[in-house]
Subunit: 228 residues, 2 copies
DNA sequence: TATATTATGTGTCTAAGATACACTTAATTT
DNA sequence: AAATTAAGTGTATCTTAGACACATAATATA
């Protein structure tokens, strides 16, 4: 059964770019690396592919291990494979990015792993090609947010239209007209209006909405394309 | 220097989905596999990552080896990593897709490697998860063609508007109105009209154009977005 | 108690772009 | 000389994006 006898295996790492939104800014989770090489430096959450684990499963496990979350939006980003990317030895890394709802994750667990959330501005230098990974993930997030309703993955289950708008403004680094934004997003017919109001941010309070995933998926089948 | 001593390396394969356009249909290049397992079955062009080669370089070399082409559009598609995807042993595969100009590639070289071009309809069953890879590459091509001028990678340097339209119709499996299509594509200002006519397909003949890459890139810098 | 303040919610007008559609032109075939 | 075929171009209409203004709910302030 040794079909590929003469081929040389290499180490396969997994790295994960984890996005969160704290109602004001986009944040990324990084950790202080606790093993050599580059021990003590900031790094993406990472690990190694186990020979008996599917790649995607391995990535999910990695994330669950750090945040306590399962069932989150997670997608493969890119496989980084330059020869010298890891000074330790030849390691290629398959990077994933995840969008999580900040209020649902296990803060203590994160802290116990020396994890910390940074905004892009505050982000320290990371090891190896991890800065590059973040840049690529950001591009992907921006691109993807334009034609798929992934913004909701970063918000609580219940959110207001102004909150949603702010998120998209932060992602795309721009400003939208309030009236046009709500008109557009509501016209898609993929939001369920609730009878509750969120009163934390304004005197008047804003109505809460939920993303109607089933309705969205039904529309997609009919050829609907989300586009912001 | 043995930092990752306890980690287990795995084999990393490379597979390439190669698209071509023969003035009528979209085609894909596959080969008859000449080694076990699954020897004699149809497969994507593939190989193994060499420990001393960058991943991207390795993929380019693979393609050049088979088609004789360098300097072609090639992008990483996805890393496929299910445990049982290769019955031989644990092998993860980084898939790339390439868009090539059919008339420029080395036909004899391809044939000497048992390569053959198939349309999607005629495509035989491929080994392992290669069918899945093709499906994913197709999705990517369709998605990408919508907002980036990659169609030109599949056409000769000189092409006519009707040819370009047909290509996009084939990619998107739809029909466009001739007048609206040419109006739209010409309005982008990224095509150079030549003083020659292509007379093979019609009595009247159609003017030849070239994709003006420099102009396109200059426009991109100014915030221009190609969108079909 | 009345008024000011602040963010939310909604309606309209305009301009630009997408789409539908018809005639002319160049060159070959009959 | 007439018919055929694909190419090239113009216009009218409809939809959508974008700019913009006023009304509303609830608290804060005078």
């Amino acid at each position: 059964m040794d079909f590929y006898q003469e081929k040389k295996p290499v180490l396969v790492a997994l790295d994960c770019i984890i996005f969160g939104f704290d109602k004001k800014e986009l944040k990324l989770l990084v950790i202080k690396r606790d093993f050599e090489p580059s021990k003590g430096n900031w790094s993406l959450v990472g690990g190694f592919l186990q020979p008996d684990e599917d790649l995607d499963i391995s990535a999910k496990n990695l994330l669950q291990h750090l945040t306590g979350l399962s069932n989150i939006f997670m997608e493969q980003l890119h496989c980084f494979g330059n020869v010298q990317r890891d000074p330790g030895e030849r390691v290629i890394s398959v990077a994933y990015y995840a969008l999580i709802k900040l209020e649902e994750h296990d803060q203590e667990l994160v802290e116990s792993h020396n994890g910390k959330w940074f905004t892009l501005d505050e982000m320290p230098d990371l090891i190896f090609d991890h800065n590059e990974m973040i840049m690529k993930a950001l591009q992907r997030l921006r691109q993807k947010a334009r034609y798929q309703p992934i913004g909701f993955e970063l918000l609580p289950d219940k959110f207001t239209i102004p909150e949603l708008q702010l998120l998209y403004e932060v992602i795309h680094q721009t400003n939208f007209d309030r009236r046009n934004f709500s008109k557009k997003i509501l016209s898609k017919g993929i939001l369920k209006k609730l009878n509750e109001k969120q009163k934390e941010t304004s005197k008047k309070g804003a109505f809460l909405y939920k993303f109607d995933k089933k309705k969205y998926e039904a529309l997609v089948v009919k050829g609907f394309n989300f586009e912001l």
